[in-house]
Symmetry: C2
Subunit: 64 residues, 2 copies
Amino acid sequence: MKNKLKVLRAERDWTQAQLAEALDVSRQTINAIEKGKFDPSLPLAFKAARLFKLAIEDIFQDEV
Amino acid sequence: MKNKLKVLRAERDWTQAQLAEALDVSRQTINAIEKGKFDPSLPLAFKAARLFKLAIEDIFQDEV
DNA sequence: CAAAAATGTAAAGTATACATTACTTTTTGT
DNA sequence: ACAAAAAGTAATGTATACTTTACATTTTTG
């Protein structure tokens, strides 16, 4: 599962810590998801989609 | 998290077992998700979206 | 360049997604 | 009504999402 969190953060000039707080998860969770260590849960994916006002599919991509 | 799996199955006249096989999970997993016992993982949500040719948000809804 | 901020990473623990087995209840078809 | 199929449910086990603490490395800024 790939994702655009790093780019979306960069566009807004947000740190991992700021995004983590906005999504109510730990900074390590954001870091791990950005680095592809694991996939977010569906509820967390929904939270991110709401935050960025994007579709889940626009943020997270099933890599084939 | 609400979902339309039961309706989508009904439209296609599929059993829980058939949907489970198509998504490569157990029948109990489908049953539990339909009954709201737990949310699917993001990868499973993507699989369902591909199968039904719908957006994840069209199948699963964050209840407020 | 030095300090500070941001990012990366690791270990250990908790919560939840999912499997398997097995059984009960409900629905469907003849 | 009866049998068969489908759906519901429960217990136990495993995998993974996520937390917390802690520290190392990289990047940014004065």
